[in-house]
């Protein structure tokens, strides 16, 4: 979660989606009454993560649970398109997702992921959403910039985080701003 020392190597089971997964699918609008800055509502948001997905993707969250068994999402292009709602990366982070590996991101979703530090938004140029399956054992290694599918044995290069790296490494926009002296250290 935001504020902890982020691990640069994340291993776990992956959940696979495809292109243009919009924010309404990540967190349906009816749940937006939940306020992410309130701890109990933050947890509830997690329980509704990906609730808007069509059923053919499989079950992301077991009914009645608020944490998913998946720690990694594998996606196609333009992940997170649609609304600017920060509830989207928050719901994913609250549900237990630590990193998304997508072919590309929509801009506001990417910004929100970076600003909140809820989950890493990482890019991979290869079309891995065609090669990975729900439940595959995966390691996302942000030291070596590779993603490994242990179930198939294949490894793919990740794109370096680029301009967002200093903000992500600091732990979000507030931490970065304090580090660079933009705002005072004490709240």
């Amino acid at each position: 979660m935001a504020g902890d020392t982020p691990s640069r190597q994340i291993s776990g089971k992956c959940f696979v989606v495809r292109d243009n997964i919009d924010t309404d699918q990540i967190i349906p609008a009816e749940y937006l009454t939940l306020v992410p800055s309130k701890p109990d509502e933050y947890e509830k948001l997690g329980s509704y993560a990906m609730a808007g997905l069509p059923p053919h993707y499989g079950q992301f969250m077991e009914p009645g649970k608020s944490k998913t068994k998946y720690s990694i999402i594998i996606a196609g292009s333009n992940f997170g398109c649609g609304s600017s709602r920060e509830h989207a990366p928050v719901a994913l982070g609250a549900s237990g997702i630590q990193v998304v590996v997508a072919e590309s991101y929509a801009r506001i979703f990417f910004r929100n992921s970076v600003a909140t530090g809820e989950m890493y938004p990482v890019e991979c140029e290869a079309r891995i959403c065609d090669e990975f399956h729900n439940g595959d054992d995966v390691t996302v290694d942000m030291e070596r910039d590779v993603v490994v599918n242990h179930s198939t044995g294949k490894e793919y290069a990740l794109k370096p985080l680029g301009d967002a790296a200093p903000v992500i490494e600091a732990g979000g926009i507030f931490a970065y701003a304090r580090q660079t002296g933009m705002i005072p250290s004490a709240a």
């Binding site: 009454t33 609304s83 600017s84 920060e86 600003a115 507030f174």
Partner: protein
């Protein structure tokens, strides 16, 4: 797909190839043309686009290039009932429970999303906005306390993006951030306006600044005489269908040309509103007399318009002859699934929805009313009307239409058998709590003047939404099928 259309004469593209980000570019490439170098005589000025200039001024730099990350000063920060509470939570957590906002006159708080509902959390969220506004002496808080009658709330406006324009918060050359993706609507006023999340907004609330990456600009030159059956919505759906939902990711969309110059402010707002649907960072229309005329009496603040330099570099330029276009819709389930309206005549529909920041402005309703009045028939399916703001609602009842023998929109809608215009808010555009007016709770088919049609957008995951202009929506209401408005105009 629409591949056949790409080679026709009305839509041509000049420039060097698009960036490698998008692998599904559908625009045809003409041979790359040399960009004109900036003037070598006179002042050596770095040529910039409109967006680059605004951001340069706002970051106190003399020049900027796309890709640079800069700290930008905000002129206005807007938030609403869905994202405001979260933003406030972050502001207090990061700056302290007793912290004060950076400028109590530069924050505009507009409850609009989940207002007319019994949902307790939704109602509580408006209370949170009120408490904060009182505590901080926020100058612009458009409150609602009596949900049973919106007219009993003199401060209440309605849909934030339309309210921002109507209340004079949009000004050329300025920088506006809002916790809503359709904040890009304000670019119609020749300003930089974009949507952000709670954390960024919380940061701005305390500091008045945010870190931004400067976007390159896609230029859309819309020329030619606008046919009588086309509206701005058709143009933007045309463009999104051309460049796809990620075609403008991280880019600015600049709309120019004779057709744009002849557009009203509301038309320009419709264009810029859907820039986000193409992934755009912002949409912008250069300010002119139309803009200044609209702003008269609405704002006392001084502003300074900026324009793209003659030698500015654009990532790509698209030239569109609007006179050759036809009414279009976006099929389920993506705003870029563009199809000619006349090719969908066998699609049976269950309802029509006219509303939202995209298609719920006064002129949107006037267009629908004009068509219905001309047709002189009754609608065949439930037709829901949601004026974006109180002002729009008043226009529906008070404005006589010269082209309809002085009848008001409300009279025409009643004669045609439409539902009574509802309380102004975002309503069903994004589904909302289950008791939201006109929410799609069943897997039915709707033609809508709204902005997104992803699965579940208006409620039910399997509901089908065809995005359309107000003319197309009205025509479809009359037939009970997706229709071409030329059948009635």
């Amino acid at each position: 797909m629409e591949g056949a259309m790409l080679h026709s004469s009305y839509f041509s593209v000049n420039a060097r190839p698009m960036s490698r980000r998008s692998s599904t570019i559908s625009a045809v490439m003409a041979p790359p043309q040399q960009q004109r170098a900036p003037a070598s005589t006179g002042a050596v000025k770095h040529a910039m686009t409109l967006t680059e200039k605004i951001l340069a001024r706002a970051s106190e730099k003399t020049k900027l290039v796309p890709g640079e990350n800069v700290w930008v000063n905000a002129d206005v920060l807007m938030t609403h009932d869905v994202c405001g509470p979260g933003t406030i939570g972050i502001f207090k957590k990061e700056f302290g429970a007793n912290a004060k906002v950076w400028d109590r006159e530069k924050i505009v708080i507009i409850p609009d999303h989940y207002i007319f509902t019994a949902d307790e959390r939704a109602n509580r969220n408006v209370d949170i906005l009120r408490d904060f506004s009182k505590e901080q002496s926020i100058k612009y808080f458009y409150d609602i306390t009596d949900r049973s009658d919106f007219r009993a709330n003199p401060d209440y406006k309605g849909v934030c993006h339309v309210a921002l324009a109507q209340e004079g918060h949009c000004r050329p050359g300025e920088v506006l951030f809002g916790t809503d993706s359709h904040t890009c609507t304000a670019g119609a006023f020749g300003q930089f306006a974009t949507g952000i999340g709670n954390t960024d907004a919380g940061f701005i609330m305390g500091t008045g600044k945010i870190l931004l990456k400067v976007p390159g600009t896609l230029r859309f030159v819309l020329d030619g005489e606008m046919p009588s059956y086309l509206l701005a919505k058709d143009l933007i759906l045309q463009i999104i269908g051309e460049i796809t939902v990620s075609g403008a990711t991280y880019k600015s969309m600049e709309f120019v040309g004779t057709a744009v110059e002849r557009m009203t402010m509301e038309d320009r707002m419709t264009l810029c509103n859907m820039a986000i649907e193409a992934g755009g960072k912002n949409g912008v229309v250069p300010a002119d007399e139309v803009t200044y005329s609209y702003l008269k009496g609405k704002t006392e603040k001084e502003f300074e318009s900026v324009y793209s330099d003659a030698g500015a570099t654009f990532i790509q330029e698209y030239r569109i002859d609007v006179s050759k276009l036809e009414p279009v819709v976006a099929k389920p389930h993506s705003p870029d699934k563009r199809v000619l309206a006349r090719d969908c005549k066998d699609v049976k529909i269950d309802r029509v929805y006219i509303g939202s920041c995209t298609g719920g402005k006064t002129e949107d309703f006037v267009a629908a009313a004009k068509l219905l009045n001309k047709a002189g028939q009754k609608v065949k399916v439930p037709t829901f009307l949601v004026p974006a703001t109180q002002k729009v609602w008043v226009d529906l009842y008070a404005m006589p239409l010269p082209e309809a023998d002085g009848k008001t929109c409300a009279q025409i809608f009643e004669e045609a058998g439409c539902d009574t215009p509802a309380s102004p808010s975002c309503a069903a555009c994004l589904g909302g709590p289950k008791d939201t007016y006109a929410r799609m709770n069943e897997p039915k088919v709707c033609v809508s003047t709204t902005n997104r049609n992803f699965p579940g957008r208006m409620g039910h995951k399997e509901a089908q939404i065809y995005l359309a202009s107000p003319y197309t929506a009205a025509a479809s209401a009359l037939t009970g099928f997706v229709s071409d408005c030329r059948d009635f105009l």
